[in-house]
């Protein structure tokens, strides 16, 4: 590399802590003008937090950010934007009911004496769209009527309208099809040719190879490799960098599932939306893990099994009985329980007492002629919270005040009380600190040993491999691999979920 001017953006020793979690534990990297800099890392490696810090949504606890060699501090997103840093989030933050031009100048409308300068707004929008190679988008059209790819271009035009010199793009290709991705890359190259730098986040390794100049790998909140030349690093090396763990979670030992164990859950041709159907079977006492990327359809499969989402076709059989599709009540009566992905918004009655959250699915157990015996509820709940080591163990406590791990235990206690046959766990350790994770793993294994059929979905591949007896790898709603968990390693799974590009 020849002598270069100071980097456009330079990050040193960035640390960001949240209660119970250190999301960023020391991140260093530089971004040069005119380059595409890829950020790589597994789910939970700290990419989202890093983006939020760079865009001013979060303030770092330690470390410094330099822009053109000068230390800057972004108090809020507006400050970051003023410094020339613009972020395109996965969920595009456009207003569907406004026109393209209005969206581009939203927040810094062109006006004269309080009146918007409509003609000038349109003219400048057209110029920006041309600069992005998209003069085909009419500035007057409602954004809601554009395709996802066109909307992305509008977001970029908006960034350029603020004279952004650094564009952060969070998985921009996730919502696009093949052709649209090609167009997107063309636009990105046009921008970098004009001296704009792009931070590009993606899971797809072949994409990084196609568009990226340099790559920085994050793992567990740290940079494990910064500014590698993309053309000089092999895909296998990148996967190793992403997965090579220092502290592994401790998983409870597996017990072999007896070959004659009953098939507690049989899923046949279960299809959600336009995706192809999936088939799998879970025996009593077995833990099956579903691995795959966010958006690969794992949660949708679980929800369809549980009846919370109506499948387009296929059937779910529990203990030999076919469930009525799309009916949660039928699933619960048949002995299926779900610990949902969004624990707070889907799993818990946050402002109600622990015991009420535990008994909510088993009220008839405590009711005589519809009248509840609250003392019995409290006693049974207290037994459960004691055996699960929920802290504090006070069953009258409001659930909101518990930590993530203890909240998860409350949800588990609900299904323990119900005595379910099939337990579906969606991201069971999200937002749970490392110590409590081990307890939840033990609990899951314990349940399996008692004959419960368990299905675990997790973005943490290590967790799926460590916890499950058998692993299903899901990509775009299809099962692409099925086999015992101890016969496959993390790199191979990652390879499978990322469209098998590894050599």
């Amino acid at each position: 590399m020849t002598s270069s001017p100071p980097p456009l953006l330079s990050v040193r020793g960035l640390v960001k802590r949240f209660p119970g979690v250190t999301a960023l534990a020391g991140v260093d990297f530089d971004v040069r003008a005119g380059e595409v800099h890829c950020l790589l890392g597994q789910n939970g490696a700290g990419k989202s937090t890093l983006i939020k810090v760079l865009s001013g949504a979060h303030r770092p606890d330690e470390g410094e950010i330099r822009s053109n060699g000068e230390v800057v501090s972004f108090a809020n997103p507006t400050a970051a934007m003023r410094a020339g840093v613009a972020t395109l989030y996965q969920e595009l933050d456009l207003v569907p009911g406004l026109s393209v031009a209005d969206n581009v100048f939203l927040g810094h409308e062109l006006s004269a004496g309080g009146f918007t300068r409509r003609a000038e707004t349109r003219r400048r929008t057209r110029a920006l769209l041309e600069r992005l190679g998209h003069s085909d988008i009419p500035p007057d059209r409602d954004v809601g009527r554009l395709t996802a790819a066109q909307q992305q271009v509008v977001s970029m035009a908006r960034a350029l309208s603020r004279d952004a010199r650094l564009l952060i793009m969070d998985e921009p290709s996730a919502v696009l099809d093949q052709d649209e991705v090609r167009t997107l890359f063309r636009v990105i190259r046009e921008l970098t040719a004009q001296g704009v730098a792009v931070i590009h986040i993606s899971h797809r390794l072949e994409e990084i190879r196609e568009i990226g100049d340099r790559v920085t790998v994050l793992k567990d909140g740290r940079t494990v490799a910064a500014g590698l030349d993309v053309s000089a690093v092999s895909t296998a090396e990148l996967i190793k960098l992403m997965t090579g763990r220092e502290a592994r979670n401790v998983y409870p030992p597996r017990r072999p599932v007896p070959p004659d164990a009953a098939e507690a859950l049989v899923v046949r041709g279960l299809a959600v939306g336009r995706r192809a159907g999936v088939d799998f079977t879970v025996r009593a006492g077995e833990v099956v893990g579903l691995a795959g990327l966010v958006g690969a359809g794992r949660s949708e499969i679980l929800e369809a099994v549980y009846g919370a989402r109506k499948p387009t076709e296929g059937e779910v059989v529990v203990d030999g009985r076919r469930l009525k599709p799309g009916n949660v009540g039928a699933a619960v009566r048949a002995g299926v329980g779900l610990c949902p992905e969004e624990r707070k918004s889907q799993g818990l009655l946050l402002d109600q007492a622990v015991y009420r959250n535990i008994t909510v699915s088993s009220l008839p157990l405590f009711a005589r002629m519809g009248f509840l015996d609250e003392n019995a509820e409290r006693t049974r709940s207290a037994d459960l919270t004691a055996s699960l080591d929920v802290r504090p163990s006070d069953v009258d406590r409001i659930v909101r005040t518990l930590s993530g791990g203890n909240q998860q235990k409350v949800v588990l206690a609900r299904w323990l009380l119900r005595g379910c046959r099939v337990l579906l766990l969606d991201e069971p350790t999200r937002g749970v600190d490392v110590g409590a994770r081990g307890e939840i793993y033990r609990l899951v294994r314990d349940l399996a040993d008692r004959g419960v059929a368990v299905v675990v979905v997790s973005s943490d591949i290590d967790e799926v491999l460590g916890l499950a007896d058998r692993v299903l790898v899901v990509r775009e709603g299809r099962v692409v691999h099925e086999g015992p968990a101890d016969e496959i390693d993390e790199a191979r799974v990652l390879d499978l979920v990322m469209e098998g590009t590894a050599a």
Binding site: G329, R333, L348, L349, L350, R356, S361, G370, P392, R414
Partner: protein, 334 residues
């Protein structure tokens, strides 16, 4: 272990302070009611403290009180119903048509009661079904019912007041039990059953769950939509009861009955401490809320003060109560 007791003890004291606890919240309402009574005694003396006057307040509270108890369930379950006044009007009219009355004369006056309850329940089922299965926002669905039910009441009655001639009916509701008017007894029964239903039964517990987090309730296996229909039906039945009471009190059915009951009922429920966003509700609070408003009205009447001034005072009470509620809520989640 010592760490466990420490984390347990510390947040408990500020987590659920006395004022934020259920009896604590009611204490605030009791204090407010007592203060109001003191004002009554000071300004109107014996005229206020008189037993007859107390019964007058209770009789006035009874009709709106029954509606408010039902409203407590719907609001606790995360809904709202703007059509209660219109349903009261429709039920009162339907129960007093010539046809219903002649049937009642030929058989039993309970026919009128059943008619009113059935009309109320029917309106409630429609409200609930539109909201739960038709996925119409509660505010809009019940707004539609508000217009339609009163309109139907006007059509049925031809906008005339229908007079009750069924002797047994008026005689029954005119009576007193141990000196307590039947209307007040009915209110007390409805309030007591409501309290038991909300706090001691599966139905009540599910109401809290559905109002607190409908998605979590659904994923916990509760049939949220069916429960929603049941909540609005329950309120509809309460409107039917209120209609019977109003018919008895006025010996008439009319399309103008129950004007603005929706506002009075919602106000009473909210100042009682039920969360407008659902998930938390108290029948006792609602009863106090109703009593506070009716006592206020009585004190103003006794002092020859205008209804307009009373409306201003009512508005002030609502704002103060809700502000207080928010501060308590913040303290209990802090």
């Amino acid at each position: 272990m010592s760490e466990d007791t420490a984390t347990r003890a510390a947040p408990r004291t500020n987590g659920t302070s006395f004022l934020a606890s259920a009896p604590g919240r009611n204490t605030g309402l009791v204090v407010a009611l007592v203060l109001l009574c003191l004002v009554g005694v000071v300004t109107a003396g014996d005229r206020f403290a008189d037993l007859d006057n107390v019964l007058t307040i209770l009789r006035l509270a009874s009709v709106i009180g029954v509606v408010s108890v039902g409203m407590t369930f719907v609001i606790t379950g995360g809904g709202i119903d703007l059509s209660v006044g219109a349903i009261v009007a429709l039920a009162s009219v339907w129960a007093t048509t010539l046809a219903t009355q002649s049937m009642a004369t030929n058989t039993h006056w309970l026919i009128m009661v059943f008619t009113a309850l059935a009309v109320g329940a029917g309106c409630g089922v429609i409200n609930g079904a539109l909201i739960a299965y038709g996925r119409i926002v509660a505010f809009i669905a019940t707004l539609a019912m508000l217009a339609a039910a009163r309109g139907l009441a006007e059509i049925i009655s031809n906008r005339r007041t229908q007079i009750v001639n069924v002797q047994g009916f008026t005689a029954f509701f005119d009576a007193s039990v141990l000196g307590v008017p039947v209307l007040v007894v009915v209110f007390a029964l409805v309030a007591a059953s409501g309290w038991v239903l909300l706090n001691r039964t599966t139905f009540g517990r599910r109401t809290f769950a559905v109002g607190g987090n409908p998605e979590a309730a659904r994923l916990a296996g509760i049939d949220v939509r069916r429960h929603t229909v049941m909540l609005y039906t329950l309120l509809g039945v309460c409107c039917g009861i209120a209609a019977v009471m109003l018919v008895a009190r006025t010996t008439t059915g009319s399309s103008t009955h129950g004007l603005l009951y929706e506002l009075d009922a919602i106000a009473a429920v909210v100042i009682g401490g039920t969360l407008l966003s659902g998930g938390r509700g108290t029948i006792a609070g609602t009863v106090f809320g109703v009593l506070i408003f009716t006592t206020l009205s009585n004190v103003f009447t006794l002092n020859n003060l205008s209804i307009s001034a009373q409306a201003v005072a009512k508005g002030a009470i609502i704002v103060v109560a809700v502000l207080l509620q928010q501060r308590l809520a913040r303290r209990s989640t802090a």
